[in-house]
């Protein structure tokens, strides 16, 4: 059981890292892109913009922690 938990923790750290909000923001942004496409918009522009916002917010959180 402990090994299974360690395995799960490894993959969590690997993909999500220390800011789960950023990973959640990315998943949400991809969901919004898919929803906009389903509504008939070719929403290629949404994900680059959303990624920039997610990155900036994640940087601000990291900087606040360090400051």
């Amino acid at each position: 059981m402990r090994r299974l938990a360690a395995f799960g923790r490894f993959w969590w750290d690997f993909v999500v890292g220390d800011d789960w909000r950023a990973a959640a923001g990315i998943l949400g942004s991809i969901g919004v892109t898919a929803a906009l496409v389903a509504l008939g918009w070719n929403a290629w522009w949404f994900l680059p913009a959303a990624s920039a916002v997610v990155l900036w917010l994640s940087l601000l959180r990291a900087v606040r922690r360090r400051a």
Partner: protein
């Protein structure tokens, strides 16, 4: 063009991780003997090759749009982590990655650890080299599998990783010291930019969007990520100067 990006991304990411793995193998070899360190290295390379050989072809069975959605999301989450760390390093909020300092720490830990011989090998040296190469190599395997499968060219991504492995091994054997002069922080920044770019590109495609110009949009996305990250570094540098005591 996409193949060129694919090769460059897999090569750079693999090279950076292999430089880190080399530092660990060197520390294990110098302090605990080369036999156990090289066996550890060999066992890890076999395990990583098996992971790529099994998972790579399995992923090609998944429909390409679903694959790009999943791979794109993973790469984007993973790439933003790299990019965030690189921006924090470049703006001075996090210390730069220092291969010499890491090597010194690994040497000290390996020297003070107890000796346990199993099958004629120093077990600590074997485990240190095995774990180090496996953990660093898993990132390489992840990039090779995700990039290769989403692009439908695992062989090219594996080739790029193989070229990086040969290059780092040759230089490592010649130098017999950590490759501290490799501009690792800059390379990590470049890899973060490329992972994020491919992540955005494939996630949007996987979600059903069509890029204007098709593949020709990739360099535009790359330029966008570079501009955003450089602007972030500039803003955070100013903020750090404002925060630091006079």
């Amino acid at each position: 063009m996409k193949d060129g990006f694919l090769f460059a991304s897999a090569f750079l990411a693999s090279g950076v991780e292999m430089v880190e793995a080399l530092t660990i193998v060197l520390a294990a070899g110098v302090t605990r003997g080369w036999r156990s360190a090289l066996f550890g290295l060999g066992a890890a390379v076999v395990a990583l090759t098996a992971i790529v050989a099994v998972l790579g072809p399995a992923l090609t069975l998944i429909p390409i749009q679903a694959l790009r959605l999943v791979v794109g999301a993973l790469l984007l989450a993973f790439g933003l982590q790299w990019l965030r760390k690189a921006i924090l390093r470049a703006s001075g909020f996090v210390g730069l990655h220092d291969e010499d300092a890491i090597y010194a720490r690994e040497l000290e830990e390996a020297r003070t650890a107890g000796h346990e011989m199993r099958a004629g090998m120093d077990w600590y040296g074997f485990t240190l080299a095995f774990k180090g190469v496996l953990l660093e190599g898993l990132e390489v395997a992840f990039i090779v599998i995700t990039f290769g499968s989403a692009q439908g060219n695992i062989a090219l991504a594996a080739l790029a990783a193989g070229v990086a492995l040969v290059l780092v091994t040759i230089v490592g054997v010649l130098v017999r010291a950590p490759l501290a002069r490799v501009p690792e922080n800059t390379l990590k920044y470049a890899v973060g930019v490329m992972l994020t770019t491919f992540g955005i590109f494939w996630s949007a495609e996987g979600a059903g969007a069509d890029w204007p110009g098709g593949d020709a949009a990739l360099p535009v996305v790359l330029a966008f990520v570079v501009v955003v990250s450089v602007a972030a570094v500039a803003v955070l540098r100013r903020r750090r100067v404002a925060l630091s005591p006079a």
